[in-house]
Amino acid sequence: MSAIEMHDLHKTYRSTTAVAGVSLTVPEGSIMGLVGRNGAGKTTTVEITAGLREPDRGRVSVLGLDPRRDRRAVRQVLGVQLQESQLHSALTALELVTLYRSLYRSGLGPAAALEAVGLGRSAGTRFEKLSGGQQQRLSIALAIIGRPRVVILDELTTGLDPEARREVWGLVDGLRADGVTVLLVSHHMDEVERLCDQVALLDAGRVASTGSPATIVARAALPQRVRFDAEHGLDAALLRALPEVEEVEVRGRGVVVRGRGDLERAVSTSLTRHGVVVTGASVERPTLEDAFLALTGRQAGPDTEVDR
C-alpha cells in the first residue's frame, strides 16, 4: 500500500500556477525527497498533502484518507513540520510538547520526545529564547509527538550547524527504522542523497524526474572522472579507444579519465587486459546536486524569494 498518493494536482494562485499536474506515489515505510528550486511548487504540494490547501484539481490521499474530507482521521496519523511556523512564544519547550501531545490520542512522552531531539536540557526554556536550531529541533519533536505513520518534514535542517544536521539525520533514520513514511522537502542535495529512498524533482509545478538518487544521477548522464597513477606510464590512446571515454589527461604517472556511463569498469577492464599496473585509483561521480542543476538547468538553493 502506498502511504501518500497524489494524482494530477493543480493549484493556481490568482495568475500564478504553483502546481500543474503533480502525480506522485510514496510507498509505505519509505523516505521520499521532494526537491526543486524555489517556486517549483514544493510548498504548495506539501500544503495540499497536509490538508492546508485545497487543490483546484486532482486528488491526494494519505493512508487512503482524504486530508480535507477525513481531516480528523488524517490528523492523528500525519505529523507535519512546517517551514517558518512559530509556536506560542512564551511557553517553554516542555510545555509546548505537552500541549501538542494532549491533542493526540496516543504518542510519545513529552520529556522523552525532547530527549529524542536533544533538547532535554532546554525543557524549561521558553520558545522565544531557544536558538534557531533548537526551535527547529522542537518543531521536529512536535511533528513526531503523536507517533504518526506518515511525517512531512519541510526544510528539515535549514539553520542547523553540521553537527546538529547529522543528529537530525539520525532521527530521520530512526523514523525509517520504525516503519514511518517520510516526505522530506529539502534544498540540500547531500541530505536528500543521504536520507531518501526516492526523489521527486519538481520543476515549474511538474514532476521533472523521479527515482532513487542514483537513478536520477544516472539519468542526468553527467561526466565522471577516474583518477589513478600508472606505475610505468600509460599510452593514452589505449583508453581513448573506449566508447565511454571522452578525454584522457596524462601528467607524468598521474592519469585523469573523463567520460560517461560505466566508465570505471570500462577503464579498469582495459587496464587489466593491457597489464597496466595502477595505484591510488579513485572515482569522482556526479552528485545529486550536479544532476539537479543539469536537469533543471538552474541553481539549487534558497536564492530566490517566495515559494508560491
Partner: protein, 259 residues
C-alpha cells in the same frame, strides 16, 4: 491498526481543551504588559471618578450612589470590552500572522478549541479585572454591591459572551494583526462613545443614543446599572446582547481562518 479505527475519529478530549486553555493563560500571565490596559485603565477611570462628587445618593435605589449606578457599571463594562474586543482579537491575529494557528491546523485540534481557550482565558482576565475594580470601589470608596448580585453576575456573563463573540468576529475577518487591533480599538471607542464612556448618552443626538443603547457596550452599562439599582431589567438590552452573541459567534466561526 487501521487509521480509521474509532479512536482516531474522536476529537481531542477534555484534557486537550484544558491543556490548551492553560497554555493561553500562561501566555497572558507572561505577557505582563498586555494586562495593563484591561486592568489598569478601568481602575484609573474608577479612581478619577470616585474622587469626584459621586457619593450623591440616588432616590429609589436603596441608598445607592452615582458611583454605584453609573461609574461602577461603566468601569466593569470597559474591563469586559477591552479584553473581549481589543486584546483577544489581537492575540488571535498575532497567532495567525506568526503561524501558530497554521501549526495547530495540522494537528487534531479543532478551530473551536482555539476560540474556546481564548474565551475562557479572557473570562479569567475579566474576572481578575472586575474583582480588582470592585475591591477598590468597595474598600476604597465605600461603593455598594449590586442590589441583585445573581442577576448582575448572569448579565455580566451575557455581556462577556457578547463582547467575546464580537472579538471572535473581528479576529476572523481582520486581514492582518494590525487590522485586528485597529478594528478592535475602533469598535471599543465607537461603542464606548455611543454607550456612555465619555459622558451621559443624553448629550448625544437621539438617533446615535438609540443605536449606542443596543450595541454591546451601551447595553452592558444599562443592564449592569439596573442590576445595581435593583429595578426591573429592560428586555431590549438583554435581547440585544443575546442577539450579538449568536450572530457574531456564528459568523466568526464560519469565517475563521487558520492562516
Amino acid at each position: 491498526m487501521s487509521p480509521t479505527t474509532e479512536a482516531h475519529l474522536r476529537a481531542p478530549g477534555l484534557r486537550a481543551w484544558m491543556t490548551l486553555t492553560g497554555a493561553e493563560v500562561r501566555m497572558v500571565v507572561r505577557d505582563t504588559a498586555g494586562l495593563l490596559i484591561p486592568v489598569g485603565l478601568p481602575l484609573l477611570i474608577l479612581v478619577m471618578n470616585a474622587l469626584g462628587e459621586t457619593d450623591h445618593v440616588l432616590p429609589g435605589t436603596g441608598g445607592r450612589t452615582v458611583l454605584d449606578i453609573y461609574v461602577l457599571p461603566l468601569v466593569l463594562t470597559m474591563v469586559i470590552a477591552v479584553i473581549g474586543v481589543v486584546n483577544m482579537p489581537s492575540f488571535l491575529a498575532y497567532y495567525r500572522r506568526t503561524g501558530v494557528l497554521r501549526r495547530l491546523a495540522v494537528t487534531p485540534a479543532h478551530p473551536s478549541m482555539v476560540l474556546v481557550a481564548q474565551v475562557l482565558t479572557s473570562l479569567l482576565q475579566a474576572a481578575v479585572g472586575i474583582g480588582l475594580a470592585l475591591t477598590v470601589a468597595v474598600v476604597g470608596f465605600g461603593a455598594n454591591l449590586p442590589a441583585r448580585p445573581g442577576v448582575a453576575l448572569a448579565l455580566g456573563l451575557l455581556a462577556a459572551a457578547a463582547m467575546y463573540a464580537l472579538g471572535v468576529l473581528v479576529a476572523a475577518v481582520a486581514p492582518s494583526g494590525n487590522a485586528a487591533v485597529a478594528m478592535g480599538l475602533v469598535l471599543f471607542f465607537g461603542m464606548g462613545a455611543t454607550g456612555g464612556m465619555f459622558g451621559p448618552t443624553t448629550n448625544l443626538p437621539d438617533g446615535v443614543a438609540r443605536v449606542g443603547e443596543v450595541l454591546p457596550f451601551g447595553a452592558t452599562v444599562e443592564v449592569l446599572g439596573t442590576a445595581w439599582a435593583g429595578g426591573g431589567i429592560d428586555a431590549t438590552p438583554v435581547l440585544a446582547l443575546a442577539a450579538t452573541t449568536l450572530v457574531c459567534s456564528a459568523v466568526g466561526a464560519r469565517f475563521f481562518r487558520w492562516q
